[in-house]
Each structure stands twice: as structure tokens, then as C-alpha cells.
Symmetry: C3
Subunit: 433 residues, 3 copies
């Protein structure tokens, strides 16, 4: 038993998330594996709160209700959509038309086979569903930030439902469902491409089709529109970092002590290096260190390490994170110069650093099976597909129902326009000092 | 061993939370079981922060300090009260007068028997205390919201101490302590009735005895009083949802992989369906989708599934949640029409949906032992007892010390009146755009 | 096996955190032990968000960006510094000059020996690094609050890097690295002295060297400067309490069911007693119960119990917490009278109650090996060293680069001065009621 376990460790460290099916695993090990993946699920769930406060804080208070509403609705729609169609599309091993409408027809999986190690050494059928579902909703949440302060609520909800329900699981299936990208040697441990870039490409498509917010680019000048509440932004980033322990650590798909704790270490050092990288870059370029840049630097480092958290060395993790922090500062400025208006920097963080992190696996991976070519292939395949799909979906919705609120509504704020309420009504400020 | 484990699974899935005492359980399984219940305890603890921000956000900024103070005090009083008397009252197996003042006289339970599987397969004596204590404080927290913005601090603290220390454990003992409701076939997995309705009935009694806030009902018209900070409300709801994974998942009382992950799935889908149910209802009825309704819809779905999270099917969970979301929108409006002033919608969420969720077990349970009649009996028994007890306690305190602050204090705000301080003093707002 | 496990329990309960090396431990037990210490790591990580919101809320909004920036930078610097030097300094068993620059030269520890129970029964090499690293950053965060609203950003970051990288691990090594204080019989379970006082002494040195904020002491009068956002403060304290489950519970260094759950119970009851102790003291002394005092009372109780959470009785935990709550109210007032300006009460909470908690082990410990003398020795040794070191580091930085911003910058706020941005720009307040 002991020897088997040691062998398992070595296998795991070599093969990354590919968990060896091991008949001899004990009920105890199955229970602790499942417990960790469930805990990881809560951590990723917490990221949705992080996204909500991050986006709300980085935009103006007249659109806060709308942001919070979208982020609340997305997680709910994400869970339900993934239950009804996404889970089956993404894991086509179990694919059956009868199963498309949810949970293999709400039947298969509830029997003993789905809740014991007969299903999987690492978790039950239900734990797998939950862990994948909280991932799925993330892709739509990333889009939410880039299209903030001007998109029509109903159109956004329709877009999210389609994108989370169909496109995310389709692209995910190419690698995580054992599809053609997997066969081609592409590696993406926890989703620099399959989650973050998938969201990032749709964010880019949405931001282009929507156009910039009124007053953002005036007579060729870029006018900064500051977020209204930086404590909310900071809360968001810390919660996202916290959640990333589950996002990356849970992607080990078992409680493997060595691999999970190694992934935590690379993840945290990359996030830390992202903070320091963005801080120094911002301090030099902008003269004074910018809090939002540093916070985005943290997320950039975390996105960057996500593809290779289990397969790059410690120093490589620090380098990947630091470069991510540097990249995000220039990306935010660069995308602004292209007059693509991304209120929260979602494209810079999730797309730019998602691409960088995916390619970095080809540079730094300790696994000889990983190659820069296969990584580039994955980046391009996901990019072409996601950008085209997102553009098409947004375009069709635009033709049918419109995607942008009226100018007067935008000026007044979407909180009144879409929801008839304000985020801070009845707020008394006492300015005694 | 393997066969025993499989048998255990089947037993668990049939019998719900009733964990079979199994001499053969290993030290490893005991450790992982205990770990999960401890983690669940933290998650439920987090709900208290959720309640604090939810209630603070849904009320006016002149009463924010008071809300935060109450919620901080309640968790502390809850822990101490439960240690000194509640734990012994609720689990009368170990009941002894000598033990009433805490932890079986601060002696029994600290020996080896209390910290090994000799005590329980799922957790130690101390883990049980902690998990039960964080539940107990919840009941008082629910009341806090309904009586907000007008109740005297000292009177509320006295009420909470008595209610958490005596009434909550008394009613809880009828089912979870193996009492007469348990014998009668009543089922309440994690407390739609025993926690949420117990709090909800007291909220109703308090709101009636206190009367509405000044300016709420003027010349027969209902005047909405908006919350001052919806980001705080959203933070609260996400934290409550997060906590609910522990509230329901921990109520399995072990780390049973199949049952715990199944409970997560029903819980999350019901919460999601609550969001969507309230969103659609609000969109249709109020013309524009209301953020606070959607957030309350989420909580409604979670309260609704709490009684049967382990025993209803997946589709049933979605239905229970969706109906909860619909119910809460009409309940908020309906209770307002009755001129019962509940600033945060606590009665609608916790009492109305607590009753609905309890009865839903009688409709949707896959366990033939559950019946609508027994569920109704439990609802009525808890309702009569809790409403009468809460009314009596509030009434006696009202006669002796008063329960409502003066009109001038209410108009000025309880922050100055009760605490001599303001929530947002020294706050500078820069309105550069 | 069963007997071995029982024996282990008894050993653990007697010897506190000293985990018996047990060759016979199974792979399953190792995995669950490691899982708990990883979860504890996330919980302590969450404390950094708690510190960030606590400090931001207790200070003025013109310095909010600066506070958030410092707290974000510290965790990043803490992780990187601890990786490059701190980890090796603190655990000199593995000390080698070759290893000073990080992770034993980024080599040792990544082999199989570091990720199996061959390294440790309770966790892997990487889990140990992560758990220790989140602790290390705490010491600097404590300082951050006391020097808020007037310290130069760059000077603070330099101080933190040196203090976290060298002084914290040096003093920690005296006890937790098996050094001379350990030999002398000093006991500090989770760091009342080794973390909280270490931070508190530096906070005191910094506050003295910086001098008070402008307008704080005018013509011999103490002028209160209120925090700008008490919901943020409350969020911070709840997150800190949550994190303390990991801070103290994780310090068991395994998932030992009895010991970890016992530590939770003492920790929570002490925190609760701190709330009640501060509430009653504040109610009597200040006439009205002060929210910030109650919140600091909670932290005071938690700091107080940290040194002896595993070794004092239940009633003793309540007493230690209640006295901490009382102490903090008088300490805040007393330190103000000494004209030492500590904007958030960090010295009162972390230093005063850190000392009290450490000494309380000498009074209440159930372990006969603990003595008041040894505890006093530890307090004095840490005090002299930390105060002197912090004073010296701050003094040298002051001479070279200055440590205080200019008067005009302080009056305008550090957000504009140090970062060129505001925390709440574009914030619209609707005062409809």
C-alpha cells in the first residue's frame, strides 16, 4: 500500500492533473480527495463575489446596482445552464442526446456508482459537477467587466447563457474532455486559456461591438473614468486570490499533498510577483504607484501561472508572475490607446496574461512533453473560435434586440435605467473633519 | 472494510443525516469527518458576517453602527450562552442539572472519550459544540434584521440571550435532540423550521410589538425606505450562500462524499433557481428587475431547500428554489400591505420560505417515511411555540424596560442615540465626474 | 493501529503542538493532515484582507488608497521575502548559506522527500512554507495600522521587507525553530508573542519615531479622529476572527481531531468574551457602548488566547478573553494619554494583549511545564529585541530617506500625495431621505 502510494505521487507529479485510476485506493483516501475538491469549489465560488466587488468598485456608482445584478444573475444562470446542458457537452464521454438536458437526464449519476470511487478516485459525480459549474460561470463574469456601464441587461444575460451553456464547454472539451487539443499535446493546467482567455476573447468582442462609454474618448483624447470605490476593488482582488487557491489547487483533482501544496506555492509566488512587477512598472512609468495597477498586477500574475502551476519551477513561477505584472500595466494603457474601452481591465488581465501564461508553459515547463508550438496552437484555436463565436452571438443579439442602452440612460446611469433603484440611496455622510 | 463502507453509503443515502454508528471506522475516516464538520463550522460562522453586511446595507446609514454592533454582540453572546446553557438543553441525552451551566460542568467531554470516535463517528465533542453554537446564534441574527432601526439595544440583547439560550435549543431538541417531533416523523434536514422559522417567528413577533418605523406608513400609504449601501447587501448574500454550503453540507454530520456533494448540488441549484425565480417575478410584477428582490430570492431558495437538501431530487430542488424566489417577492409586498414593517425582508425569507421548504419535504421527498402531515405538524408546533415565546419575552421586556427608542432618537438615528458615533464620519467624497 | 492512534491523542493533548513523529502514520492520515494545514493557510491568508479593511475603515478616506496599497504590497513582499530568505532563517535545522537565497537553493525540498510524510507527518515542505509565509506577513501588517496616515510609502515598504525578512524569523526561531527560548521552557502556541507582540513592538517604535498625526494632540487636548467607514472595520474583524481558526487551529500542525477542535473552542470563547468584556467596560466607562471598542475587544480576546489556546481550560479561555476585552479599552485610552498616536489601536490589541496572553499561559496552563517566569522571560526577550531592532531600522531609514510625509501632503491626504488617486472618486450619493 505504502509503495503504491509513493508510486502514485511520482505519477501525479509527472502527469500533472491526470489522476491515475487506482483500484486499490481506500475509502478514506477517496473521502479526503473529495473533501478537498469540494472545499476548492467553495473557494472558486468565492471568486464570484470577488468579481462582483472588483467590477462594482472600478466603475461609477450610478452603474453599481447593474454590476451587482449581473454578477448575481450570472452565477445562478451559470449553475442552471451547466446543469441542463453544459456538463454534458463538456464531458462527451458520457455524452448522449438523452443526457443533454441535464445530468444525463437527471438519472445516471445518482446511483451508487456516481458517489463512490467507482466513478472517480478524486471526487463524486456531484462534486465534479459543482467544481466544473463554478468554473463555467467565471467565463461570463470576465465579460461582464469589459462591457460594463453601457450594455443592456437583457442582452447581456442572453449572451451569457449561450456562451456559458455552449461555447465554454465546447472549447473546454477540446482539452479537458480529452478532445483534439489534448491529443495535440496542448497543456492548460487550470485554464489560462480555457477559462481566462475564453472569457477574455468574448470581453474583447463585446467591447469592440459596444464601442466606448460616452465621454471616454473625446477629440482623440483619452479621458480616465475612475472607479468609485477602491476598497471594494481591493476586497475583490483578495477574494479572487483566495479563490485561486481552489481554482488552481482544486485542478489537481485530488488532495495529493505534494502536488496541491506545490501548486499553492507557485500560485502565490506568481501572484506576489505580479503585485511587485506591476508596482515597480507603475512607479517608473506613471511616477506614482497606482493601486488599481497593483491590484490588476496581482490578478495578472495569478492568470499567468494558471496554465502551468503544476509544471513550472519555483523561480519560473516568480518570473511568469513578474512579467504578467509588467505586461498588464502596458496592456491597460495600450488597449486604451486602441480606443477599446474596458472599464475594469478585464482584457488586459484575462486575455493578455492568459495568452502569456499559456505560452509560458512552452518556455518554462519541466515536462518535456510540453512544447511552445502546441501551446501556440491552443491559444490560436481558442482565440479564433471564441472571438468569432462571441462576436457572432453579440452581433445577432445586436441586430435583434440591441446591445447598448440609450445615451440618456447611460448618462443617467444603468441603475435607474435598468433597475429603477440606486446603490447608495439614503446615504448620509458626516464630514466632521 | 470495503463492503462495510459501501453499505454505509447506502444506509446514509436512505436514512439522511442519521449516521450509522460503526465501530469499525478508522482513525483516518474519523479525522476527515471531523475536519469537514470543522470547515463547515467556519462556513456557518461566515454567515454572521453575511447577515451583518446584509442588514447594514438594507437600512439607513444613520443606523449602521447599531446594526453592526448588534450582529457582533450576537455571535459573542450566542457562543457564550450556548456554552453555558444551550448545548445541554438541546441535547438532553447528556442532560444533568449539574451540567446546565456549561459543557457538562466544564468537565465531562474533555477526557479522551470526547475527542475520539468513541464519542461520535463524525466529530469530537468540541466540534459538535462549535457547529451547534454557530447555528444557535443564527436564530437571533434573523430577528435583528426585522426589528432594525427602532429597537433599544439593551432590550434586544436581553431578548437574544434568552431566545438563543432557551427557546432555540428547546425547539431544536424536539427533533435534533431526538424528542417528540422526531418520534412523530417530522423531518428537517438542516433547519428550514428549526433555525430559519424559529428566527422568523420571533422576527414577526418583534416587528408586530415594535410597530413600524416612523414615516414608513403615512396616511395609509406605504413609503419605501431604501437601504443605503447595496454593495454591502450583495457581499452579505454571497457570504450567506457560501456559508450555506457549511450549513447544509455540514448537517450531513460527516464527510460522506456522496451525501455531502449531493447536498451541495441541491443547495446551489435551489439558490440559483431562487435568483432566477425572483428575477423573473420581479421583472414581470415590478417592470424592472429589482436587485434586492433577486438577492432575497437567492436567500429564499437557500432557506427553502434547507429542510430537504438531502432527500429531494435534483429537479425538485430547482422547483423548490424557483417557488421560493417567486414567494419571496409576493411575501415582501404582502407583509408590507399588512403594515408589518420588516426593513430587510427577514420574515419573508426566513419564515415564509422556511415554512414552504419544510412542507416541500412532504411533497418532494424521495423517502417514503416523510409525510406532509408530519411536516405540517412540525411547522405548527414550532410556530405556536416560537411566536408565543418570542411575543411573551418581548412583551415582558417592553413592560419593564421598553423595547423602542424615542421618536427623536429614531429620527436622529440609533448610531448617535445608542452609541454616540457615526458609521461614515470623516468620509470625503470626490465628485470629479 | 487503533491503539497507536489513541496513544497519539494522549501525547498530543499533553505535549501541545509537539507532534510525535510516528513512522506508522498512513498515507491517508498524512493527506488529511496536510489538507487541514493548507486550509488553515487560506484562513490566515484571509486575515490580510481583514487587516486591510480594518485599517482602511478606521482611518480617513483621504488615506484609504495608501492603506489598501500597503496591505496589498505587504502580503506580496512577505511571500517573496519569506521564500528568498525568511524560511531558511527561521528553521535553522536546514540552515545553510547556500540555502539563504530561498528554498534551500530552490532545489532541496522539491524531491519526493519534501512532499511525503518522510518530511513531516503533518504536511509537506510546500505546505509548511505557505503556512509560515502567511504568518510572517502578519507582523508587518500590524505595524501598518499604527503608522497609518503619515508614513512615507517607500520607507514603510523598506522597513517591512527588512523586518519580515530578518527580525520576525530570527525571533521566531528562538522558540519555533527550537532555539534558546524553547530550551528555557517558554511556551507560545500560535504567537501571542512571536507574531502579535513582534508586530506590536515595531508598531510602538514606529508610532513614537513618527510622532502623532497633525491635529491629533492640540494644546494638550486629545482630539479624536474617527474612522471613515465602520462597515469596513466590521468586515475586517469578522474576517480576522475567521482567519484565527486557521491561525490557532493550524498551529496544531496536523488535523488531530481532539486538539484542533479544542483549540477552536477556546479561541472562539475567548474572542466572544473579549467582545462582551469590551462591551461592558465601554458601556460603563464611556456611558454608551462603542462599536470600535467592541471590535477591538474581539481581536484582543483572540490575541490573548493565541499563546495558550491548546493548553488552558475552557473557563480560563473565557477569563483570558474577558480580561483582554477590558484591557484593550483602557489601553487605547492610556496610550492616547501618552500622546502616542495609534490610529487603529494596533499597539493595544497586539502588544498589550499579546503580552497578557503570553503571561496568562503561566497562570492558567494545565501543563505543569509552563511557568510564569519562562513566559515573562519570553516577553522581555522579544520585547527588547523587537523594539530595539524596529527602532533602529526606522531610525536609520529616517536619517537616510525620511519616514514621514510632508505636512501639506498629510493634510491633503496620502492618496493624492503618494498615489495620485482617490479612493472614492466618481461617487454619487443620492440623499433622497
Amino acid at each position: 500500500m505504502k509503495k503504491t502510494f509513493m508510486t502514485l505521487f511520482v505519477l501525479l507529479c509527472c502527469a500533472g492533473a491526470a489522476f491515475a485510476q487506482e483500484e486499490g485506493i481506500s475509502a478514506e483516501m477517496f473521502t479526503v480527495n473529495n473533501l478537498w475538491v469540494m472545499v476548492a469549489t467553495f473557494l472558486v465560488f468565492t471568486m464570484h463575489l470577488g468579481f462582483a466587488t472588483l467590477e462594482a468598485g472600478l466603475t461609477r456608482s450610478k452603474n453599481t446596482v447593474n454590476i451587482l445584478f449581473k454578477n448575481t444573475a450570472i452565477i445562478a444562470i451559470g449553475f442552471l445552464t451547466y446543469a441542463f446542458v453544459g456538463f454534458n457537452i463538456m464531458y462527451p464521454d458520457a455524452f448522449a442526446w438523452a443526457g443533454v438536458f441535464g445530468f444525463d437526464g437527471f438519472g445516471i449519476g445518482t446511483d451508487a456508482a456516481g458517489i463512490t470511487k467507482a466513478y472517480n478516485d478524486g471526487y463524486t459525480y456531484w462534486t465534479e459537477f459543482m467544481f466544473q459549474a463554478v468554473f463555467a460561470a467565471t467565463a461570463a463574469t470576465i465579460v461582464s467587466g469589459a462591457v460594463a456601464e453601457r450594455i443592456k441587461l437583457s442582452s447581456f444575460l442572453i449572451f451569457s447563457t449561450i456562451y456559458v451553456g455552449l461555447i465554454y464547454p465546447l472549447v473546454g472539451s477540446w482539452k479537458w474532455g480529452g478532445g483534439w487539443l489534448h491529443e495535440a499535446g496542448f497543456y492548460d493546467f487550470a485554464g489560462s486559456t480555457l477559462v481566462h482567455s475564453v472569457g477574455g476573447w468574448a470581453a474583447l468582442a463585446g467591447a469592440i461591438l459596444l464601442g466606448p462609454r460616452f465621454g471616454k474618448y473625446v477629440n482623440g483624447n483619452i479621458r480616465p473614468i475612475m472607479g468609485h470605490n477602491l476598497p471594494l476593488v481591493t476586497i475583490g482582488v483578495f477574494l479572487l486570490w483566495l479563490g485561486w487557491f481552489g481554482f488552481n489547487g482544486g485542478s489537481v483533482l485530488s488532495a495529493d499533498p505534494g502536488l496541491v501544496s506545490y501548486v499553492f506555492t507557485t500560485t502565490s509566488l506568481a501572484g506576489s510577483a505580479g503585485v511587485v512587477g506591476a508596482m515597480l512598472t507603475s512607479w517608473i512609468v506613471q511616477k506614482k504607484p497606482d493601486l488599481t495597477m497593483v491590484l490588476n498586477g496581482c490578478l495578472a500574475g495569478l492568470v499567468g501561472i494558471t496554465a502551468g502551476a503544476d509544471t513550472v519551477g519555483i523561480m519560473a513561477a516568480v518570473i511568469i508572475g513578474a512579467i504578467s505584472g509588467l505586461l498588464v500595466v502596458f496592456a491597460v494603457t495600450g488597449i486604451d490607446k486602441l480606443k477599446i474601452d474596458d472599464p475594469v481591465g478585464a482584457i488586459s488581465v484575462h486575455l493578455v496574461c492568459g495568452i502569456w501564461g499559456t505560452l509560458a508553459v512552452g518556455i518554462f515547463s519541466t515536462n518535456a512533453d510540453h512544447s511552445f508550438g502546441a501551446q501556440l496552437l491552443g491559444v490560436l484555436a481558442a482565440g479564433v473560435t471564441c472571438f468569432a463565436a462571441a462576436f457572432l452571438i453579440f452581433f445577432v443579439i445586436k441586430q435583434i434586440a440591441g446591445i447598448r442602452v440609450s445615451e440618456s440612460e447611460e448618462l443617467q446611469g444603468l441603475d435607474i435605467g435598468e433597475h429603477g433603484m440606486e446603490a447608495y440611496s439614503g446615504f448620509q455622510i458626516f464630514t466632521t473633519q
